[in-house]
């Protein structure tokens, strides 16, 4: 019975093999990436030509640098800088390398980045000047609260002869480190001054180049139609308040404002942290939290929330909410970047800002405070640093509960899929495995919809004392759902590895199926089941995307290792803590995988009886 041996092999190997796929060979990967990108660029040119956005002449000139030249041969911009033609080629090659995933391509990118440090911006800029094959587009990194207004500014600027603009919106705290780490961007919009100074200190922005472009105001929002507190003191009675993350400007502004009005102490324990202002707004709009603190402009843009009251504007300079714009020193289009910033800071820009509900600074300060202060800037933005011990504890607790709670369903599903045929089996199998391929963030969103306080199921759970969103329950549910596919695959494989002959024999010996399951199938599959549990545990430890959406990022309650690391990445002060957590995360995960491997081997050995002969 050779097929038995095969089945055993398949049963557990399949899972192991998932992780065994290696990266493609370096050169092949780079070359493929190169070809893929050439195709993409050809498509772009075609689409652009059809839209009439470019003429044929630039298309031909772009085609000129022979793109088939291997990446390895790309001359360094430094050396090639003297010879015009080769410089263009070099720039093109470097730019192209930004997309392919091959290791070689990455190495080339890293090496060429060394050749063009920000210290020599003018030189680097010459090399990367247009004509290298890249469509001329200004890339703008901007605080997410500017999502609605900046595209309007960009089209106004374009109408005045500016370049097309592409945006990357995120929390300032996440964008700033990107800007210092070689992001190919031209302009930076920060939601506060501290982060702009931080960039200046790192020479990502030239000292004195930053300009205040608009102001904003913090407001407390509630879901439309809900009872709203009249003032900050009423916040504590709401049970939960959503704020942006500790290092996100909106989060820090909110913290400062709450401290200033003297309610921070009462509210601190109720705070749920969203990744950005937009996340906070989304939660409030969906009614998952009774109140949130966002910018007034965000509140205006969202119909599902209403403004309860505004938090008092700051008296002290540090707390004033002001957006800053600056060209980046590494900008591929320095002239365009400077022009865009002055346009935005100018009267036309101010008009657009004002129309969108932003406050426009009366007499614009013109240059950033750091330059004026002269002395060393204030300490880099810092917030409450997540506690590593708490993160590890929560991670272990969540993973453990999820693993234990998932055991019975995983065994039942694994058994059902391994041994039974029924209509809809494929459907069930697909549904169970779906979280394996659906982005965890999407899974989290679907879970929030299904189990949020606005859904019947969520209300029922809340009445039972198990409210899901922003609680440990939510973190556990997220970890469970995302971990279940691996759990079920593993257990299904374990059951499939058990020869049905054993069960049939047990039946003929007078033991009916249910007791046969307990006496034969379960013990024979046990190491595989435990291996599945270990794997699910490891996956639960690593869960991030679904957790951050469903359970938020609440220090001491749902902030797992992954969330803590994510939070710390925005905090320049938490380097050491980050490494502690990264170490814990890697260590725990590897330990779990080691356990899985050992248990899988034991499973194979347990069934050895039949193959030894």
């Amino acid at each position: 019975m050779v097929h038995v041996a095969e089945r055993v092999e398949l049963g557990l190997r399949t899972v192991v093999r998932v992780s065994a796929t290696g990266p493609p060979s370096d050169e092949g990967g780079a070359m493929r990436g190169n070809i893929a990108e050439r195709r993409a660029r050809a498509r772009w040119r075609l689409a652009a030509a059809l839209r009439g956005r470019i003429t044929w002449r630039p298309v031909i000139s772009r085609l000129r640098p022979a793109p088939t030249r291997p990446l390895r041969a790309a001359p360094s911009p430094l050396r090639a800088g003297t010879a015009g033609e080769r410089a263009v080629l070099g720039g093109a090659a470097v730019r192209r390398a930004a997309v392919p995933r091959g290791v070689l391509a990455r190495a080339v990118l890293a090496v060429s980045a060394l050749w063009a440090p920000p210290a020599a911006p003018a030189h680097a800029q010459d090399v990367r000047s247009p004509g290298g094959g890249e469509p001329e587009t200004l890339v703008v990194l901007a605080a997410s609260s500017l999502t609605d207004v900046l595209p309007r500014l960009a089209s106004a600027w374009r109408a005045r002869g500016g370049l097309p603009v592409r945006f990357s919106f995120d929390a300032t705290s996440r964008l700033a480190p990107q800007a210092t780490q070689g992001a190919r961007a031209d302009v930076f919009f920060a939601a506060d001054e501290a982060w702009m100074r931080w960039l200046e200190e790192r020479r990502a922005v030239e000292s004195g180049a930053a300009r205040a472009v608009a102001g904003n105001e913090l407001v407390v929002v509630v879901p439309s139609g809900r009872d709203a507190p009249g003032d900050a003191a009423g916040l504590a009675a709401l049970g939960r308040v959503a704020l942006a993350g500790e290092n996100v400007p909106a989060g820090r502004y909110a913290y400062e404002a709450l401290v200033r009005v003297g309610v921070w102490g009462a509210v601190e324990g109720l705070v749920v942290r969203g990744g950005s202002v937009r996340a906070v707004l989304e939660w409030v709009a969906r009614g998952e939290v009774p109140a949130g603190i966002v910018y007034r402009t965000d509140a205006v843009a969202e119909d599902a929330v209403s403004v309860a009251f505004a938090l008092p504007a700051a008296g002290s300079a540090g707390a004033e909410i002001r957006y800053w714009a600056a060209p980046l020193t590494s900008a591929p289009h320095p002239a365009g970047a400077r022009d865009f910033v002055s346009f935005v800071a100018g009267p036309e820009g101010s008009a657009v800002f004002a129309a969108a509900g932003f406050r426009v600074p009366g007499p614009p300060p013109g240059t950033s405070g750091a330059a004026q202060a002269g002395g060393p800037g204030p300490a880099p933005p810092s917030g409450a640093v997540p506690s590593p011990a708490s993160a590890v504890r929560i991670s272990l607790l969540v993973a453990l509960i999820a693993t234990v709670a998932g055991l019975a369903p995983a065994v039942a599903l694994g058994w059902l899929l391994a041994r039974h045929d029924f209509p809809g089996k494929t459907l069930l199998s697909t549904a169970v495995l779906a979280p394996l391929v659906i982005p965890p963030v999407v899974t989290g969103f679907l879970l929030l919809t299904a189990l949020g306080t606005q859904s019947p199921l969520g209300r029922l759970l809340a009445q039972l004392g198990l409210p899901v969103p922003f609680t440990l329950v939510g973190a556990t549910v997220a970890a469970l759902v995302v971990g279940l596919p691996l759990y079920v695959i593993s257990i299904r494989g374990a059951f499939e590895a058990v020869d049905p002959l054993y069960e049939e024999l047990s039946w003929t010996l007078g033991v009916p199926p249910r007791r046969t399951f307990v006496r034969v199938s379960l013990p024979l599959a046990l190491p595989g089941i435990v291996a599945g549990a270990v794997l699910a545990f490891a996956r639960a430890l690593g869960e991030f995307g679904a957790t951050v959406v469903l359970a938020g990022n609440v220090e001491g309650s749902t902030r797992t290792i992954a969330l803590a690391v994510y939070t710390l990445l925005e905090s320049p002060s938490g380097r050491e803590t980050t490494w502690v957590l990264v170490g814990a995360s890697v260590g725990l995960s590897l330990l779990a995988l080691l356990g899985f491997e050992r248990l899988s081997r034991r499973q194979r050995r347990r069934l050895e009886d039949r193959h030894a002969r």
Binding site: E504, L505, T508, L509, P523, L607
Partner: protein, 217 residues
Amino acid sequence: MRAEWRGWSLSVEVPLGERALSVTLSTASRAVGIVGPSGAGKSTLLRVLAGVERRGRGRLEVDGETWLDSASGTYLPPWLRRVGWVPQEASLFPHLSVRDNLGYAGVEPERVLEIAALLEVRDLLDRRPRRLSGGERQRVALGRALLSSPRLLLLDEPFSALDRPLRDKLSRLVREWAEERAVPLVLVSHDEEDTRVLADERWRLVAGELALSGRAT
């Protein structure tokens, strides 16, 4: 001890991949041997008798009871048939010791010791199956089937891993055991020699067809 054995009759069709096994057989003998080349469907026939082959369509009556009747939807599940099935693969439960394998059907320890002595596996009682030789496994599997108080013994090449002297010795032993307790048996083998000792009536199965090929004494 039952005085009367009404025999068994079988008329089933089992789909086996491309072809189908179609068997009609009726016998009153207490010791039936079925021989045939490998792949002829001998083992499938025993699986139908044991009730673990659910693809079979047709009728099976054993000792006057209907175990299978596709027309009326009758099917007696294996755990109610009380057959002592020894499959070709000596499939001992790998997670249980020899002692627990022998006593799997809920047997008193004395009877386990008794049969272990009879089959000469007493020294192996606390071993796991993977530490047994092929012949030892076959003996333990046989003992387990004998201990389940079967109404019908189904032996599928039970001695294939044994050498000739031991094979004959065990055959005689099983024969005696079965006659003593009046337990009818069906033996399947590719080796006519085995059936000569154990069976009174021999059927030959070739390419899905059965023919009576000989009757002892």
